[in-house]
Homo-oligomer: 422 residues x 2
């Protein structure tokens, strides 16, 4: 998957080790540009690199953010010196309590809620912004219903860029506030998310200075997810985990973590040991899990109906590549009900003190289910990716948790309340 | 203020460099224990140390959390090896946009929203838990209305401890959820925060295995705030800022940041350059600012009435020490209205992409006001401490921000909407 051949063209842009865009389907290469579809076959384009010599020591001496991996990303070498949100290098915690609860020998949780706007989207947006600047854009844009909107508006504010964020006008008030507070242009669009997405593609074609992070600069944006893989490996002491469970929305994150692991092995930064990729979806939007189970290569689109809204992409662009990755490494794609999602959120919170959004509940619950089905190996070292924050999806658990008891302000009453609970 | 004299007593506990508890008023020293008031004069007790030889290199090679400073904290040397939330080492960002907006030459924002439960409370609770374990406790407790409750419940979950969190029963539902999700004992107490606080003191006396972080182990807990000062200095390249603005609730944080700066100078880890401490309060709860303005040494308690609830302590325990610190360094304590708090939140968000809770709005708005009054030096290098997250106080800005426009799903409509805005 890692393309390191010499470039056909020299580039007008300084995007670090990036050398070209290559079609994932037909392999055709074009010069670095703001393109996302192959001019020959319309397949998705991906960044191709020519990596320099890179050492662990150089990375470890780098910034305490994703820019420690800048020599592995499609960004200018000066990226760290320009105002940005400095995402990444979030905690990887040894999750012994959760391991015990799940019956796994050794487990880690990658807690990406520590990012500037508390989801992994800060990573991909930071890479998109850095590439977009080099490609000549000056406005940062996206269609979104949540995490991505927060990340784009915050990153643009910090960079001193204008932003244009498109949301469905029916979006809940808290999600509107958490984007609007950053002060860019926030457009509420009458229509559903599909309408908003279509509008974004139209606007990207009409405004030459508008970079829609997940449309016209998507190949660069997507590479930001590799940093999750790099960090996991570095934080494990420069080695790959045996198993990793990744939530699947568009599917991009899973394929990029896989790509990141492979690159580290190819570059000699880790031993290229065997690892298995597992995907996690909510049953209410499980097109990739369904295709996996049916043994299909093609994804049948679904109409999402799940509380895991940040994963609710019914027609995931990278679904087929998730299937490739999971099958190649011997993994699976599992799915869980909304009730299981809530149980997953609560289990993670009470065992490890990490409060995840619904996507995190999907990951934990899917891991549990795959273990029970004997598909995840309980004896293999396992990592769970927790990519967003429970503070953004309070509704998911609001009916399930509350005070243990309500008591008068006396110590005797407290004693009684605790005794009566056993 | 830094007490480094040899101990009178040897300790039964391994609390790293901590050697005794010393009274801040009369200087009387007692052995390390779960005490918070001087047996002679009832003054507050503070941890006294005998520091080892410490180098910058050793700190830099340490964990990417507050435990890189463990040799400066009252915690066992093994602290990093026991499951904990691993708080700290949050971003210090160069805030050039905000600097320009405020008219300051050079400004940094310490963004403590990156902590595990998104406030600085994770720091103090982690230190309290580590000390409490060594002191023989097994249940982590607090009275709280917000950030502290989240931090205690999460830290206890991660450590595998029981927790008991006391809240007023009138607390808003979102704040209940964000604590209850961690699964400890959450007691809703019929009464106001003062009633809850009184109950906590009573319970601490009755339950010998209950560590109330801000009551019976408060001297250890409070030391956790020193890490904010250490990190600022390290992240500036091992030097002290010329000015720092710190929000004031109990006042502990400001005095501990001051203590941290002084210690670094004494230990030769930074040049002991001159710095000025500034305190920030909301006008609706500004007992320390009022005492400062009136030239008093004694704090007149106030009944809080402000949206900045995390700062709403009407009778702040460390108020007199804040006055000492601010006067000694040539600083001030300012205060701002609730409208200014909201403006401060919005200004920080749109200039730097950092969404702070109301306490952060207080800090930014107070800095602005002190600059306008000529009390903060616009030519001096300045740091603002942002200690909590806007996601927890959405109500503060919900009436102020929203979509720029609502439009039909067509690019022509978007063009019209943007044009009409100019």
């Amino acid at each position: 998957m890692t393309l390191t051949a010499a470039p056909e063209t020299t580039s007008a842009y300084d995007l670090g080790p990036a050398r070209a865009l290559a079609c994932r389907e037909c392999g055709h290469r074009i010069p670095l540009a703001a393109e996302f579809a192959c001019p020959r076959c319309f397949g998705p384009l991906e960044v191709a690199y020519e990596f320099p010599e890179i050492t662990r020591a150089a990375i470890e001496a780098g910034p305490k953010s994703i820019w420690r991996y800048k020599d592995l990303l499609p960004v200018p070498s000066t990226v760290g010196q320009i105002a940005n949100t400095e995402p990444g290098l979030t905690r990887l915690i040894e999750a012994d309590n959760l391991a015990k609860a799940l019956g796994v020998r050794k487990l880690w949780v990658k807690d990406d809620t520590g990012n500037p706007t508390h989801s992994f989207k800060d990573r991909v947006v930071a890479v998109a912004l850095a590439a977009a600047r080099e490609l000549g854009f000056s406005v940062l844009c996206c269609p979104s219903t949540g995490n991505l909107a927060n990340a784009v508006a915050a990153a643009a504010a910090r960079a001193g860029w204008d932003s244009v964020v498109l949301i469905p006008s029916s979006l809940e008030q808290p999600k509107i506030i958490t984007t609007a507070v950053y002060g860019g242009t926030l457009l509420a669009v009458d229509g559903n998310y599909d309408d908003v997405n279509r509008l974004a593609t139209e606007l990207a074609a009409e405004h030459e200075d508008w970079a829609f992070v997940n449309v016209n600069v998507r190949p660069y944006y997507a590479e930001g997810s590799k940093t999750l893989g790099y960090e996991v490996a570095e934080q494990l002491g420069w080695r790959l985990p045996e198993q990793i469970v990744v939530p699947v929305a568009s599917g991009s994150q899973l394929t990029k973590v896989d790509k990141g692991f492979t690159e580290l092995g190819n570059l000699g930064l880790v031993e290229p040991t065997r690892y298995t990729m597992f995907g996690a979806q909510a049953t209410g939007c499980s097109p990739v899990a369904s295709a996996f189970e049916a043994g299909h290569d093609v994804i049948q689109p679904q109409k999402p109906d799940t509380i895991a809204r940040s994963l609710a992409i019914g027609n995931p662009a990278d679904g087929p590549y998730v299937l490739d990755s999971v099958r190649r490494t011997g993994g699976q794609v599992g799915h869980v009900s909304d009730d299981e999602v809530v149980d997953g959120i609560r289990l993670l919170a009470r065992t490890e003190g990490v409060f995840a959004e619904t996507a995190g509940g999907v990951t934990v619950a899917t891991a549990k289910k795959l273990l029970e089905a004997g598909r995840l190996d309980p004896d293999a070292e396992t990592v769970l990716l927790i990519t967003g924050d429970g503070l953004k999806t309070l509704d998911a658990v609001s009916g399930q948790v509350g005070p243990t008891a309500t008591v008068p302000a006396s110590s005797a009453a407290v004693r009684d309340a605790l005794t009566s609970r056993g």
